[in-house]
């Protein structure tokens, strides 16, 4: 854990004793981790360690799988999102998600971004909506490249552009937290670079939690890093500490490539 006395950060997502079962398989063991506001937190660990499963707990996407059982709490703004009186659909408005494979809708670029805000009633069709689309695309660093072809299908863009479109679509809903599940692993190095720069910009307004299997990426962008192994949280600290001076031997072994 990061040292308490030096910590002036606000906790945006407070995870306490989170357990998850896939049927009989106990996949996440008692995860407790405070995730800080306006910071980028990276979740690293070998394949199958549960980092993506954990990420999906933060916006209740695991609810879609019928054999999943969840115990514990994920508190955002003093409310546990797993409380019985919270509608999981409403959680996802405040906690957005970007996926590993870019998945724009088979609609125009404009409609991709405008769909959710219109549906949620944030804006009405017309000028307000146009402005929202423009701002979202600008914040996602895509505006210049698409401003003349907003009616083209979202799928006509390149891989990196599609991913930035997905980011624009996510921030158009004005979430507070953005979850990213290996957002650059399907992209080429140049697009990866663009997205990493984007993440550093976005953290000023959003809290970002990203799963990555690329340790160098974690080292480049993340303020905090959490190391998972076999469904347990092994170590959580400032990124520099994790990579330079890890407290746990397993962390060190993973960082130095002894397994993974």
């Amino acid at each position: 854990m990061p040292k308490e006395k030096e910590n002036k950060n606000i906790v945006k997502v407070d995870v306490k004793e989170l357990n998850l079962w896939y049927g009989d398989n106990h996949a996440l063991h008692n995860i407790t981790v405070p995730l800080y506001e306006n910071k980028i937190t990276a979740l690293i660990g070998p394949s199958g360690c549960g980092k993506s499963t954990f990420l999906r707990c933060l916006n209740r996407m695991n609810d879609l799988i019928s054999i999943v059982k969840i115990d514990g709490s994920v508190v955002i703004d003093e409310k546990n999102i797993y409380d019985k009186d919270v509608d999981e659909v409403s959680v996802r408005k405040r906690v957005g998600m970007v996926f590993q494979q870019p998945n724009p809708f088979p609609k125009s670029i404009y409609d991709n971004v405008a769909y959710a805000p219109l549906k949620h009633g944030h804006v009405k069709k017309g000028k307000a909506c146009d402005e929202l689309v423009e701002k979202s695309l600008k914040d996602a660093g895509l505006w210049e490249e698409v401003k003349d072809k907003l009616n083209d299908p979202g799928t006509s863009l390149s891989g990196g552009q599609q991913q930035r479109l997905c980011i624009a679509r996510t921030i158009a809903v004005k979430p507070e937290v953005i979850l990213m599940d290996e957002p650059t692993s399907a992209l080429d190095p140049i697009s990866t670079e663009k997205i990493e720069a984007l993440m550093l910009e976005l953290k000023k307004k959003y809290t970002i939690i990203t799963v990555t299997h690329n340790m160098q990426q974690a080292a480049r962008v993340a303020d905090y890093t959490a190391f998972f192994h076999l469904g347990k949280l092994i170590e959580y600290d400032e990124t520099e500490t994790i990579f330079v001076n890890p407290s746990n031997k397993k962390t060190e072994d993973y960082i130095t490539g002894r397994f993974g």
Binding site: D77, E78, K79, I81, K84, D85, V86, D87, V89, S90, V91, K93, R94, K119, H120, G121
Partner: protein, 394 residues
């Protein structure tokens, strides 16, 4: 603890639009569910309707009367029974009496109390349906019933007789035999051609124009309405080749062409499912393509090919339209003894009966439907059973 409503106003995650949106989504889900329920409800209603209409046909009314075998009755069968019974006893049965006397001379001069098939109107009256009996005949039947001279027996005639002008004598026998003969012809033609085409397309064909044309044609063939195959059968097999009308051989040929696409498609799938490693191993042993296909691929694909063929057979068995066009709905009382004799098939027989005015035919048609559906269920179950039994997990 009080059960809190989701999305309550004092909830930090409250969303004003959500309640209406959830309601809309729930309505949508209800609509899709009710569509499914309707389909199943229809099936249940349909089966219930057919069964309730058809079950009574498995029983036939019999009357106990005195039958006189004499020279008089041999000449005029109407004289074999008392006059008052003449309208309520099956006319078709009476017609058989002279022949009975011929074949059994010891009957001559005797008067025997016999259980005799009732006329179809009596049968329907006893079953509670619309009937055409006159009052005095009805009274007679009621009296006989009170005396214990009326019985409803299992209707073996339904299975032993062919079609008849008298409803009570009409049975499915010649249609069943006609179906069997026709199906034999159908499969004898469609199976080899279909499987060979599938083998050629999957194992031998190159990716050229010829192959594409074949595949397009198979697709088209599957889409052609069945009645047009009847037109083909009429124009080519009957008019051009001069084959006899109403014969199983023509019906079989026509249905074979219709069944080809199913056999080809399922055989191709079965062949494709055989992993390439089997073929590679066989080639590695120095075998030719034909030997590899015949000795190694085909045996493994055979269960799938068989399953597909049984399904194709089941479909051909229910076909009526093309057979009407080539004439297999003539009145066929006797079962065919060869594939060149005039014959009818089960669905065509049902079609003919459905158009008859007498009420008894409604029962018999429904009962025939039950028989036909049972056969189809049996065939499809066999196909599923075979598929499960020989299912190899590669």
């Amino acid at each position: 603890m009080i059960k809190r409503k989701k999305n309550h106003k004092d909830n930090p995650f409250y969303d004003a639009t959500l309640n209406a949106r959830h309601r809309k989504s729930k309505r949508f889900k209800k609509f899709t569910l009710s569509s499914l329920v309707f389909s199943i409800a229809f099936l249940v209603f349909f089966l219930f309707d057919i069964t309730s209409k058809g079950t009574p046909a498995f029983k036939q009314a019999y009357l106990k009367v005195e039958v006189t075998y004499s020279e008089l009755s041999k000449k005029s069968y109407r004289k074999a029974i008392e006059r008052k019974y003449s309208k309520i006893v099956s006319r078709a049965y009476l017609r058989t009496i002279p022949m009975m006397i011929e074949e059994n001379p010891q009957l001559m001069g005797q008067t025997i109390s016999t259980w005799v098939i009732a006329d179809d109107q009596v049968d329907q009256y006893l079953k509670g349906h619309h009937y055409k009996l006159k009052n005095k005949d009805r009274a007679l039947v009621d009296q006989m019933k009170a005396d214990g001279n009326v019985e409803l027996r299992f209707n073996t005639i339904f299975f032993t007789n062919g079609d008849s002008k008298s409803p009570e004598f009409a049975g499915l026998n010649s249609a069943i035999i006609g179906s069997i003969l026709t199906m034999i012809i159908t499969m004898l033609i469609a199976f080899p051609i279909g499987v060979m085409t599938a083998i050629y397309l999957e194992e031998f064909a190159e990716d050229n124009k010829f192959t594409q044309i074949i595949e397009v044609n198979i697709n088209n063939l599957a889409a052609i309405p069945s009645i047009l195959f009847g037109l083909l059968g009429l124009a080519v097999f009957i008019n051009l080749f001069g084959l006899p009308r109403s014969a199983p051989v023509v019906g079989g040929l026509t249905l074979a062409l219709m069944t080809l696409p199913i056999i080809i498609v399922s055989s191709r799938a079965a062949l494709r499912a055989v992993p390439d490693s089997i073929r590679q191993a066989a080639y590695g042993l120095g075998l030719t393509k034909i030997e590899v296909t015949r000795d190694h691929v085909l045996p493994l694909a055979f269960p799938g090919i068989l399953t597909g063929s049984i399904i194709g057979l089941a479909q051909a068995m229910g076909e009526t339209a093309p057979l009407i066009i080539i004439g297999m709905i003539a009145y066929i009382p006797d079962a065919p003894s060869s594939v060149m004799d005039a014959a009818t098939v089960m669905p065509a027989q049902l079609f003919t009966w459905a158009g008859m005015p007498e009420r008894m035919y409604v029962e018999k048609t429904a009962a025939g439907i039950m028989v036909l559906l049972s056969i189809l269920v049996a065939l499809n179950s066999l196909a599923i059973y075979l598929r499960k039994k020989f299912e190899v997990k590669w």
